[in-house]
Point group: D2
Chain length 341, copies 4
Amino acid sequence: MLCFTSDYIAGAHPKIMERLMETNLENLSGYGTDPYCERAIGKIKDACGCPDADVYFAVGGTQTNQLIISTMLAPYEGVIAAKTGHVSLHEAGAIEYTGHKVLELPGENGKLSAAAIDAYVRAYYADENYEHMVFPGMVYISFPTEYGTIYSKQELTEISAVCKNYKMPLFVDGARLGYGLASKANDVTLEELAQLCDVFYIGGTKVGALCGEAIVFTKKNAPMHFLTQIKQHGALLAKGRLLGIQFDTLFTDHLYEEIGAHAITLAEKLKRLFHEKGYRFFIDSPTNQQFIILENERMKQLSEKVAFGFWENYDADHTVVRFATSWSTTEEDIEALSELL
Amino acid sequence: MLCFTSDYIAGAHPKIMERLMETNLENLSGYGTDPYCERAIGKIKDACGCPDADVYFAVGGTQTNQLIISTMLAPYEGVIAAKTGHVSLHEAGAIEYTGHKVLELPGENGKLSAAAIDAYVRAYYADENYEHMVFPGMVYISFPTEYGTIYSKQELTEISAVCKNYKMPLFVDGARLGYGLASKANDVTLEELAQLCDVFYIGGTKVGALCGEAIVFTKKNAPMHFLTQIKQHGALLAKGRLLGIQFDTLFTDHLYEEIGAHAITLAEKLKRLFHEKGYRFFIDSPTNQQFIILENERMKQLSEKVAFGFWENYDADHTVVRFATSWSTTEEDIEALSELL
Amino acid sequence: MLCFTSDYIAGAHPKIMERLMETNLENLSGYGTDPYCERAIGKIKDACGCPDADVYFAVGGTQTNQLIISTMLAPYEGVIAAKTGHVSLHEAGAIEYTGHKVLELPGENGKLSAAAIDAYVRAYYADENYEHMVFPGMVYISFPTEYGTIYSKQELTEISAVCKNYKMPLFVDGARLGYGLASKANDVTLEELAQLCDVFYIGGTKVGALCGEAIVFTKKNAPMHFLTQIKQHGALLAKGRLLGIQFDTLFTDHLYEEIGAHAITLAEKLKRLFHEKGYRFFIDSPTNQQFIILENERMKQLSEKVAFGFWENYDADHTVVRFATSWSTTEEDIEALSELL
Amino acid sequence: MLCFTSDYIAGAHPKIMERLMETNLENLSGYGTDPYCERAIGKIKDACGCPDADVYFAVGGTQTNQLIISTMLAPYEGVIAAKTGHVSLHEAGAIEYTGHKVLELPGENGKLSAAAIDAYVRAYYADENYEHMVFPGMVYISFPTEYGTIYSKQELTEISAVCKNYKMPLFVDGARLGYGLASKANDVTLEELAQLCDVFYIGGTKVGALCGEAIVFTKKNAPMHFLTQIKQHGALLAKGRLLGIQFDTLFTDHLYEEIGAHAITLAEKLKRLFHEKGYRFFIDSPTNQQFIILENERMKQLSEKVAFGFWENYDADHTVVRFATSWSTTEEDIEALSELL
């Protein structure tokens, strides 16, 4: 059966699997001290244009968000995020579990605006009772967002300026970063993104790896004893090579970019397909996730031949569904879908 | 100077001070095991019509909210509250500090509706990904609310039914309970309130005590080893008598009711005063807190002769201020205010 | 019945009760912003010879330990304490509740030695895997200890030096500080103690107050936004005056010293009494807590006429019990005890 | 260079790599809902003789310990463990991070005795102040221990009985379970172990997998909504297949047993080698970790040609080192070591 459910339905990109096989019998030291981790870190710093960055690896997205947010916030601080942000909604309270409030702002199409952040923080400090409230200590945005949308360079620059103004670090969740950077609508480079924020991560799990996210503290600003804090969170792999080898491969010969580009090309085709067939879109997404409004009867029919993600109810008769592409989506998949539609 | 800033500007009701003096030299056992605590607990159970209730004392409101919510929720649960609820806004993240999310719903005039709670929880369980989200595990309402408003018996009954339906305990923050019960608009008795919820507290700090809140688990449903959990939170007083004697006094000869009635009578007079002088109200509060919209210039003038609480900006030229009455407010205070206005 | 159970069996010192009465009707601002708090802070700074200290009030001992330790430690740090320390044993895990390990060292007679601390920390940093372990981030000692013993100036100086060497703040739990300072065996002044440590607290609850502990960050080194962190812990009193007035009184006309001296004088008499009658001591305590080994039959007899604290089993036939004096113990109590023995 | 540093120096067992390759392009659902996870769970239940067990996968050992302990303990409970236990010493405070104390008992050769546990818990409940202390809520042992030693069936049966008596679940950390079961000195089967404890895990990372531990709640006793709690801890993999496929392979055709047997056979040879050459052992370990006392000069020489783990200083002139075998150790490695010695 055709499958567009998500971008984590297949294993790893074949080049990654190959490297894991080739290196399998090498004796390497543990906990991220092996040469593959080191090499991957070097390549990531180069790709980001951040020679001074601190780079670490974690296993999954929620873990990474939890690690970064809980170690960068002071105990009395919370993190500003869109109400629809992954940390607000879909991480089972992982941030609150570490003692911090997610300060939820409305957002639009999954995005926060510099103006909204500024208004919130200004009002906070203007409040006579601000010392009885949670300090806004960080801003979290996702690129692309949970709705597939992306921020323009202009928007990021404005948000970055507000953050600087209030001395709040800006954190970009890049679980799907590769698809954002490859989007036709995107005008930000990886280097620029790294410049504009204080910490971000390069998603591996959803962009071709078996697992793994690369955390980049762009300004040599990793929290003190970050390795120990990773361990304390239960997030340190004994066989750190598993992450090092994957990211070393992703950042060799532009594989990460290639994966992003491939998925975007097919997503564009898929989008055109739906357009041509007269389907309605829930949101205009320029990345690898496409949100379509299906009439419920039609949804049932389709679901017999193609798998996709249920997103949310639209109204009594319609449902929003998600079609996602990834490195493993093929031209044949798109053609087959075309015939189905 | 005249002072209407809050309901905690004076010490304790004279009868409480008297009893503290009379008992001062008695040798009593510690940590709440003294006869005054025991007696106070008995009287509270009687007043609530809950012979099976578990009653404990804590020192202040935020501490009490933190204790109740964190010990009654499972680790994967959050508490539903109005966006304007004390636990949402004005406790410096004390709930999140214990690892739990406050699930904020809009609310109206500080109140949650049964319909809004029901819709939220129903949508939660209808979501395919609900296991990746925070379970709604409890409902928090305040009576009166942070805006001075109160719930009718009908409203409480409906909320209680929704809670029962989803097996979520209903928790009523009664930091100002005495003023809610005494309100002319109120149609709920203490006994009925106790019947309708699973846990609530009887505020002492803001209703005549030096400090202290009495927690009532209405259905013999105190969390396991609650005393140890109080200790673990740093909330157990060595001289537990300080709370026992105060509540014993408050629940002797209807002192608690008397204090509530006194403050409400004066609040009604104060309200009439502002009405007569043509002031605008921000909200129609039937309890001891009155929220007035003042023109900024007028606010400045007034503040030279009478102290009140700054609440929030209304617009560029107006500010919302709070006038509160309490056991210590006198008829003379109201008269003096009348002259000022 | 005679009562030597603990030093928190009575209410507050009469001078404190008097001041609470006198000030009861004054309208004061909340949350520790009133003039009594301010005045108390000034007097405490003077008494400690620390014009730059940051001083805050909390309600009880466990709360204070929890507040200080959790706000001064980095997330990856634990606190070194004697196995018999209050934070190790008798606070229901209040420190661990905030996410930090208590690193327990053996100790002797309730005391830690500089050598033991140094050896522990040196071994820690010498361990190849120290990054996988809890960093020693603070040293906790109590003065007097839970066994009534005290540190000499020499011992404190050595511990202080070790702490400085490893950049670990030294925290002195002074729940019973007044009795330690007044001890005939003591050679440390309050000023010297303040010099030697980074933070300590002046116990009120067990030294004449209804409740309250005064936290002194001796080097203007209070954790950032400490007031907000007090609130977040549920430890901020609305009627902060309750603590301010008590400490203002304790630090007026040397009342705090007087209370300490009174209790020590009577403890010395009590000690002599037991000595003369041939009782054995469990430990040679120079402060207000005396630990006696009683034959079990004798214990039963005595307990019919005098109340004391059960401490621990000594052997099959003997039990260790505690007799404590305080401000409320009288010469008559000692005489009555003498007759009993 | 020869390498005996640890049992996680190589990648995964070739059969695991093969299966990961074969299944790489299959489209599978996420978060552990795929058929490989399901199949692995079935095989594990069979192998444990626990048809009713609840089985879940996590990524690494510290994460697994943290997950199990924090979700099975009540908030006021701590976990009993040997002072040398992994959770006590080498997890950077991961247990305390979740709010729980590790109640450390001395232990012998890494092992706890039933008598020591019983004595501790009995003394706890006999203490008048037990409600001010941390409740012993669970017992943690490792099999094999951190020193390579194992418990006999008799010892486990006794510990299990004590746990039942006090209603404390027994948790067995099986990070190296495969090596314990394969030990010549072992008299416990996997089925018996499962019977005797309430929860344990089957270590993958150190027994042939790239990563992964299989948690077995032996009596259908998984904590409520355990999946959500895994997510909340940041421990839920999007590509759950990575764990499912590995454990499916390990539990096909007795691969897990085979790996254990292989490593033990070579460990025995290695042990004999050191014995014959007159080396001293720090501890008599019957599993894959061997602890040798080396004269420091000799250690330096050896370390030029063979890698091993530094364990701890023995005395001024000697050091304890660790040699470990695993699935990837070969007969040739042992022969080469023989020549070196």
